[in-house]
């Protein structure tokens, strides 16, 4: 199938194309699908796809940072091709057919978030740690809480140290088997701060200090 612009097509996902075609320059959208969807990184093929659906990359001309053009029945289909203006040098344009992903988001049971905190570890004990909790879902005052280390994923335990940031969410997860209440703790994983980020943080701290009149 190499050398031919191949496109996936799902007739069930009929979405108006007029807006999108008007917004694209040098569209590669085949005329055969001018009233059909735009649901993935590529257009869907009008002929029966083969097992592996080798497809030409169509995102090459994209200069748009949206996830979707139209949701076309699925949250998280990725960018449509050639939405607007950036033109790439010829050498950057794809030539090889590759498989193209179908969805943007991982398929997961829906999580209904009830409350979320951004937390900072204050002290680590033998089998527990204390943390300051900053409510991210309301305006409740900061709290302190103690967590058992057993609550932390084994691989994250090395991250538990004073000053470490983690996110604590509680909510419901709906599964076919029923609703379950869950709590997730996720430690922040970031490489070291860059000098520029430290400079920005220092500037922000200075701004806040000035604002609150703290000498």
């Amino acid at each position: 199938m190499s050398g031919v612009a191949v496109h996936k097509y799902d007739p069930a996902q009929a979405v108006d194309l007029s807006v999108s075609t008007n917004s694209m320059e040098n569209s590669r959208i085949p005329k055969s699908v001018t009233s059909k969807v735009f649901s993935g990184s590529v257009w869907h093929q009008t002929t029966p796809p083969n097992q592996f659906q080798h497809l030409q990359i169509q995102a090459a001309g994209s200069s748009n940072t949206m996830t979707t053009l139209s949701q076309s029945n699925d949250v998280g289909h990725s960018l449509w091709p050639k939405f607007n203006t950036m033109s790439l040098p010829e050498q950057l344009k794809p030539t090889s057919p590759v498989r193209v992903p179908r969805k943007t988001y991982a398929t997961e049971a829906r999580f209904l978030q009830l409350q979320k905190w951004e937390c900072t570890v204050l002290e680590v004990k033998e089998d527990a740690f204390t943390a300051r909790l900053i409510d991210q879902t309301g305006s409740n005052p900061d709290e302190e809480a103690e967590f058992s280390l057993d609550e932390v994923d084994t691989e994250d335990r090395d991250l538990v140290e004073a000053g470490a940031v983690f996110y604590w969410s509680i909510g419901y997860r709906d599964r076919p088997s029923g609703r379950e209440r869950i709590s997730t703790i996720r430690f922040r994983r970031l490489p070291v701060w860059t000098p520029k980020e430290l400079r920005i943080a220092a500037q922000e701290a200075a701004r806040v200090r000035e604002k609150i009149g703290w000498k």
Binding site: Q13, V15, D16, V19, S41, I57, A59, A60, S62, S63, N64, T65, M66, T67, T68, L69, S70, Q71, N73, D74, V75, G76, S78, L79, M86, L88, L92, P94, S96, V98, R99, V100, P101, K103, T104, Y105, A106, T107, E108, R110, F111, Q113, K116, E118, D153, E155, Y167, S169, G171, T184, R186, R188, R189, L190, P191, V192, T194, K196, E197, I200
Partner: protein, 217 residues
């Protein structure tokens, strides 16, 4: 049931620039400590190719083309970790040129009734101008672009459509778009700065826009 209720949502960060997809493999993320090694090992790989790498972990979806990177999640408890993943990735790859960024939010709202559902379309796109031009005109999609109110260049684009997932429902996607004016040699610095500064504001703003669209009026 309330007039409108959020039922499905997702969040993504899209970066445009110049990337080497082959770097972005689950094992690389695991080795750099950006995701847990176990999560990297159990990643569901869809494509690994020199022009496209695409895989999902239990928390994220990552898709990399030579000119585009996408980090996405559909789980609200991973929204902040999603930002950390993008920040961490490009702190490691900080010389990678990133020219544009989108912080995107997709939301499906279930409407309390067909009538409520029609009221949104009628309010956003009154049918009177179309009545003499089309039979049974209906809103299929509407994009509105607004200016940024911060220090960055770009725009905020809201798109509204009937939901294909929730019936009767409304789909809203917010593209918080940043033109980063990356200077040669500055790599991902501007993107890191914009993401760090704007993340929380962007999340709150996109939710506020969406809630405003589906509010009872």
């Amino acid at each position: 049931m309330p007039f409108s209720q959020l039922e499905i949502e997702g969040h993504s960060i899209v970066l445009l620039g110049s990337f080497n997809p082959q770097i972005f493999q689950p094992s690389w993320f695991g080795n750099e400590g950006l995701i847990r090694k176990e999560e990297a090992q159990s990643a569901k790989i869809e494509v690994v190719h020199r022009e496209l790498v695409s895989f999902s972990t239990e928390s994220f979806r990552i898709e990399v083309f030579p000119e585009r990177v996408l980090f996405a999640t559909s789980q609200p408890q991973f929204y902040d970790p999603l930002r950390d993943l993008a920040l961490g990735t490009f702190r490691v790859l900080r010389h990678t040129p990133v020219e544009k960024m989108g912080i995107n939010r997709d939301l499906h709202y279930r409407m309390e009734s067909e009538e409520a559902w029609h009221s949104i379309g009628n309010r956003l796109a009154p049918k009177e101008p179309w009545a003499s031009l089309l039979q049974e005109p209906g809103l299929k999609g509407l994009s509105i672009q607004g200016a940024r109110a911060d220090i960055f260049k770009g725009a905020i684009i809201a798109r509204v459509e009937p939901s294909g997932r929730v019936k009767p429902g409304v789909f809203i996607t917010i593209n918080d778009h940043y033109d980063l004016d990356t200077e040669p040699g500055h790599g991902a610095d501007k993107m890191l700065e914009a993401l760090e500064i704007s993340w929380k504001t962007s999340l709150e703003r996109s939710l506020k826009i969406a809630e405003g669209i589906v509010a009872r009026q």
